[in-house]
């Protein structure tokens, strides 16, 4: 996958685009409630795409703000392209491209005002590349930024992020509010972008279909803690969804499941693949084979995993117990 050794603008070789260990941050929200991001650890190797998923308020945006040094960490360490963003902020940010969920340029500016502001900021800014992206995205230079649609504003931020050869792209909910064509286009751009093995992408999203298409790695944050971080396929294979009737769930099965949702017509349980046999064997009477019609078992997708674990504060702890 790698065409050349991954290097930063200063020429250093790096194996990891991003390394986070035991990151912690706590603060009081505007509504007076507290929030705590605790012991976040994750690694993104150079040349890959990592998706950051989790329910609203899980801590994804806080994590991104910590990575960007927009907020101070209480504990832990961050290494972006082999550097600490606190002590080497300028060097790190020169190699970063950022797309937020809403525009960060002044809305009174016209599109053509962006390049004179941004170009001097980055030593590796390419005007040709920027103009290419404007054309490719259909961004008219005389339009006011405030008058652009949300999708076009996102494309403008992306054009800026891609025009200075950012080694790591950080995107916070870039696809929310975009139609399927625009999302597809963005995903294609991201895949092109990492194609040379010298660039990496970290993006948070609620639209897990995008993630399934392009992500190599996934970090799932739930209630401020990392529920899972690692290769996407391992997470997909790690859980099964078991569906059954209202009376088909025995008390003895409960310790084997990670998440549960009941309804009038039955239940839906998230079961770690390695515990599936135990779960089925604990049924009363035992149903070792899922095909006997009592249970419907299928591989869990991201939405299932998030839906069935987000409400449970113990799910994260249980996942950690299982990992250890």
């Amino acid at each position: 996958m790698r065409a050349s050794p991954p290097m930063t603008t200063s020429g250093e070789e790096v194996d990891y685009a991003l390394r986070v260990s035991d990151l912690g941050k706590s603060y009081v929200k505007a509504d007076g409630t507290g929030f705590r991001l605790q012991q976040v650890t994750m690694d993104l190797p150079m040349g890959y795409i990592m998706g950051l998923i989790g329910p609203n308020g899980a801590g994804k945006s806080t994590l991104i703000r910590l990575l960007l040094n927009m907020t101070r960490r209480d504990s832990g360490a961050i290494s972006i392209l082999g550097r600490d963003p606190s002590s080497q902020e300028e060097e790190v940010k020169a190699d970063l491209g950022v797309v937020f969920d809403s525009i960060y340029f002044l809305e009174a500016w016209k599109v053509k005002a962006v390049e004179p502001v941004m170009a001097p900021m980055y030593p590796s800014w390419s005007s040709d590349r920027y103009q290419d992206y404007l054309r490719r995205f259909g961004l008219q230079e005389n339009r006011k930024i405030g008058k652009l649609s949300r999708g076009m504003q996102m494309k403008l931020m992306l054009a800026v992020a891609l025009s200075h050869d950012a080694r790591l792209l950080i995107l916070d909910e870039p696809t929310s509010g975009l139609d399927v064509l625009a999302r597809d286009e963005l995903m294609d751009i991201l895949l092109d972008y990492i194609g040379d093995g010298r660039h990496s992408v970290l993006f948070s999203t609620h639209i897990t279909a995008d993630l399934e298409r392009v992500a190599d790695f996934v970090t799932y944050i739930n209630r401020g803690s990392v529920f899972y971080t690692g290769p996407k396929d391992e997470l997909m294979e790690a859980f099964q969804i078991v569906r059954g009737g209202p009376d088909d769930l025995a008390r003895a099965q409960m310790p084997h499941l990670m998440g549960l949702q009941r309804s009038a017509t039955g239940f839906e349980a998230l079961v770690p693949t390695e515990r599936l046999k135990d779960f089925l064997a604990s049924a009363s009477p035992a149903a070792v084979e899922p095909s006997d019609g009592r249970y419907l078992v299928e591989r869990a997708d991201f939405d299932n995993i998030i839906r069935l674990t987000a409400g449970s504060p113990s799910a994260t702890d249980r996942n950690k117990e299982m990992e250890s």
Binding site: M70, I103, L106
Partner: protein
């Protein structure tokens, strides 16, 4: 230095509102140009019309006050959520952002003061009446520079510390203290007229004295303001 220069450039672009510095240049150049133009027209028509000069001086002074207020309000735009998020991702450290911001503001205020000094030189009564208008012009420019620098020195840490709306309210409240203090002062059994006259006499007897004292005051106030801004901005959660 490079990072500070980047921040100055960014602030200049922001000041122009449209991202084009020539708009800002036009605004700043308008005042001295009006002064020179007015003087030219009056010289050509042989009309030394003091009334017209006074009226125009008033209008330009009003424009100057408007520009100062506009610049302070411009801090709203610079510290709103969008702009501050942009600050958070640019490759400029927070310290350099603060230094660059102060350098940009001082530069703007200096240019504006010089512009008004040109206007003052060409249109005021001291020119007509053959007084030492160089002396008056320097004092006028210095006074303007001092006043604007003080306003920014007070306003900027507030904007780094608080949300823009709250910062503006506190700033206006602080400005509101000035007439209250004047009112209280007028009630005290002190002959303020004599007091101020003696100060002004001391300051204006030589040109170097007010210039040195003024610059020293600006430097001290800006230093304190920079220290406060750095302290609050470093801890600010963007």
């Amino acid at each position: 230095m490079k990072a500070i220069a980047k921040q100055i450039r960014l602030d200049m672009q922001r000041f122009s509102g449209t991202g084009r510095p020539w708009v800002g240049v036009l605004i700043y150049m308008s005042v001295p140009c009006i002064g020179i133009l007015l003087n030219l027209v009056m010289a050509l028509t042989g009309n030394d019309g003091e009334d017209a000069r006074t009226a125009l001086t008033g209008a330009v002074a009003g424009m100057g006050i408007g520009l100062i207020v506009g610049q302070v309000f411009g801090l709203f735009a610079d510290f709103n959520n969008m702009a501050i998020r942009l600050n958070g991702l640019l490759p400029i450290t927070r310290d350099h952002q603060v230094f660059g911001r102060y350098a940009a503001v001082i530069l703007l205020v200096l240019v504006q003061s010089c512009g008004y000094a040109v206007f003052f030189f060409y249109t005021t009564d001291s020119f007509l009446h053959g007084r030492d208008h160089w002396h008056d012009t320097v004092l006028f420019a210095l006074g303007l520079f001092l006043l604007e620098s003080l306003l920014f020195a007070v306003a900027t840490p507030l904007f780094y510390w608080l949300e823009p709306v709250k910062a503006m309210i506190v700033f206006l409240a602080l400005l509101g203290l000035v007439p209250i203090m004047v009112l209280i002062g007028s009630l005290l059994p002190v002959d303020w007229g004599t007091f101020w006259n003696s100060i002004m006499q001391f300051l204006t007897s030589d040109l170097w004295r007010p210039v040195l004292l003024g610059l020293a005051l600006i430097l001290a106030v800006e230093m304190v303001s920079i220290v406060l801004s750095r302290k609050v901005y470093v801890r600010k959660e963007i």
